[in-house]
């Protein structure tokens, strides 16, 4: 590992000079939903399943004994991501722009696509993490997004307002 350009005791150590005054920002979103409400909605309008969930999400949930709990968790995850972005369901966004996938050990991860991914990147998203739980007929999702002052690809990060002004 190359030596740090600045002594570690310096508060700016590890940061490039141009962003030393801007620490990473954390954005968070949480959502709680009744499992029965999601089950009822998907049962009464089966066509909505493909509009809201990706084929991979549906395949995962349908393999489970209690598919409704897993679908509800994924619904809550999508809502949590939208809350973390601060936009709600903004223009051109699709529910399937947000996908929950599971690692081999079962840990859920998020994948973002389309307009949702574009907005997240404009906010400087560096990492996004998700936790899901369900009990007592409720499913909860919690999303934490770490945003850097400059986006990983070098593009400037914006606040939602900055982004709007530059649109």
């Amino acid at each position: 590992m190359p030596p740090s350009r600045q002594p570690l005791r310096e508060p700016d150590a590890g940061w490039s000079p141009d962003r030393s005054a801007l620490p990473p920002r954390v954005r968070t979103g949480v959502d709680l939903v009744e499992v029965a409400r999601v089950e009822e909605l998907m049962a009464s309008h089966p066509e909505l399943r493909e509009r809201v969930f990706t084929p991979r999400e549906l395949a995962y949930c349908d393999r489970r004994g209690r598919a409704g709990e897993h679908l509800a968790g994924r619904w809550a995850a999508k809502e949590s991501v939208l809350k973390s972005l601060g936009t709600g369901m903004g223009p051109r966004m699709e529910w399937t722009d947000i996908e929950v996938v599971n690692e081999l050990g079962g840990r859920p991860r998020l994948r973002l696509y389309g307009e949702v991914e574009a907005v997240a990147r404009s906010l400087g998203m560096h990492h996004i993490d998700l936790s899901l739980s369900h009990s007592g007929g409720l499913a909860v999702a919690h999303v934490v997004m770490v945003c850097l002052p400059a986006a990983p690809d070098g593009a400037p990060a914006h606040t939602p307002h900055d982004r709007r002004r530059s649109a």
């Binding site: 909605l41 809502e79 903004g90 223009p91 051109r92 649109a167």
Partner: protein, 137 residues
């Protein structure tokens, strides 16, 4: 004419009542969806899909904010503190004619706009969308 003879007011009221599990009489035109009727986003998805099935007019949740803004860019719609400005309020008045622009001037924030959205506003939106589709057919 796929929409001929359709009572969009009744279709919307019925969709709201069925999705929220309330009586038709409670889904009055002046009731705000997110405020008075306590609808959540999953309910909005349900309502819009019921409307689509009953009327063939497709409106997505993500369309609503866009339609309310009428194509005006964000920076011309609100000020730096996300307070809706004069131009934004004038645009909102077109979709939400019940609002008191003078009363809301300098106070209404972007995230509050949807809480003003009523059953009647949704009916108007569906009617407009149907008219546009018919005109372009």
């Amino acid at each position: 004419m796929p929409y001929e003879g359709k009572d969009f007011g009744l279709i919307v009221q019925q969709a709201v009542a069925d999705a929220l599990g309330i009586d038709l009489e409670e889904a009055v035109p002046e009731a705000t969806l997110l405020g008075d009727l306590d609808a959540e986003s999953i309910d909005l998805l349900d309502i819009l899909f019921r409307i689509e099935k009953a009327s063939e007019v497709k409106i997505k949740v993500s369309d609503i904010a866009e339609l309310l803004q009428g194509g005006i860019p964000d920076e011309e719609f609100a000020d730096e503190d996300d307070i809706i400005n004069e131009v934004g309020l004038a645009q909102l008045k077109k979709s939400l004619p019940q609002i008191d622009v003078e009363e809301l001037a300098g106070k209404l924030t972007a995230d509050e706009v949807l809480t003003l959205f009523t059953v009647q506003n949704l009916t108007d939106l569906v009617s407009e969308r149907a008219a546009l589709t018919t005109a372009s057919a």
